[in-house]
């Protein structure tokens, strides 16, 4: 558990510096947050900010975007969370079964 840095971590550090250099190069193309005319603020977000209250009746624009304009995304996302629950249940909670792969020997005693 005690963590020690070795020769291998030097190589990893160099790799991280390379990633940081790539990010720094692409950072120079990013708009600073002081600019108002970036494409993030202009294209579709303009309609969300101006029309959300009159079209959906909800003053909270985040809820309007999440549940009205992009509700299909949210539906699939709810399904994703449900899938996570099903996977967790299938991998841990079902354990007294035949041919149970990762149970070891103790599980086979109970069903005999």
């Amino acid at each position: 558990m005690k963590h020690t840095f070795s020769k291998r971590s030097l190589f990893y550090g160099g790799l991280c510096l390379a990633v940081l250099a790539i990010m720094a190069y692409s950072m120079s193309f990013l708009p600073s947050y002081t600019e108002m005319d970036t494409p993030v603020h202009r294209n579709v977000a303009e309609r969300y900010m101006t029309q959300a209250e009159s079209e959906t009746g909800s003053p909270n624009m985040v809820t309007a975007v999440l549940a009205d304009y992009r509700s299909l995304d949210t539906m699939i996302e709810t399904t994703v969370i449900f899938t996570a629950g099903v996977v967790t249940y299938a991998m841990i909670a079902i354990r007294r079964r035949k041919n149970y792969i990762w149970g070891g020997d103790e599980d086979h005693e109970t069903e005999a």
Partner: protein, 150 residues
């Protein structure tokens, strides 16, 4: 409620915190269109109330350990969501078009009710999934040698 808890902090947490959490969760759900909040947050807060109950009362929880029923409740969330979406199709709308829901109110208000319906679905799904993952991870059915859950 049968036996007193071992310390005053757990007692106060059990008696005071859980009702407040439930009321606050429902408030966040139905007030999510006007203030920060919504389906996910309400689901997680309601799940927190149940998880606090499970941590503080391991003996009671042993009777209520129905993971597969929790999974079924989690499946109800996307079903409610999809039913709300499908409801506007017979009235000439597209999938999830709230403006044509069969409600006797103005069109903008129908959007509000549609958002409320789908957020109920999201709340159910998130709440039951989080409780189910917690149960599966901790295996609440079998506490360790001293009877503690954590």
């Amino acid at each position: 409620m049968k036996q007193k808890h071992s310390s005053i902090i757990l007692e106060v947490a059990y008696r005071l915190l859980i009702p407040v959490l439930i009321v606050f969760g429902v408030y966040v759900l139905i007030h999510g269109e006007y203030s920060p909040g919504g389906g996910f947050q309400a689901g997680v807060i309601l799940a927190l109330a149940v998880i606090l109950n499970r941590v503080l009362e391991p003996a009671d929880v042993k009777k209520n350990y129905w993971t597969y029923k929790t999974i079924a409740l989690a499946g109800m969330g996307p079903v409610i969501y999809m039913m709300t979406g499908l409801l506007s199709i017979p009235f000439g709308g597209h999938f999830l078009e709230y403006g044509l829901l069969p409600l006797p109110v103005h069109e903008v208000e129908r959007h509000l009710y549609g958002i409320l319906f789908i957020e109920v679905g999201v709340t159910l799904g998130v709440m039951a999934t989080i409780i189910s993952i917690f149960d599966s991870l901790g295996k609440v059915g079998d506490p360790d040698e001293r009877g503690n859950l954590l």
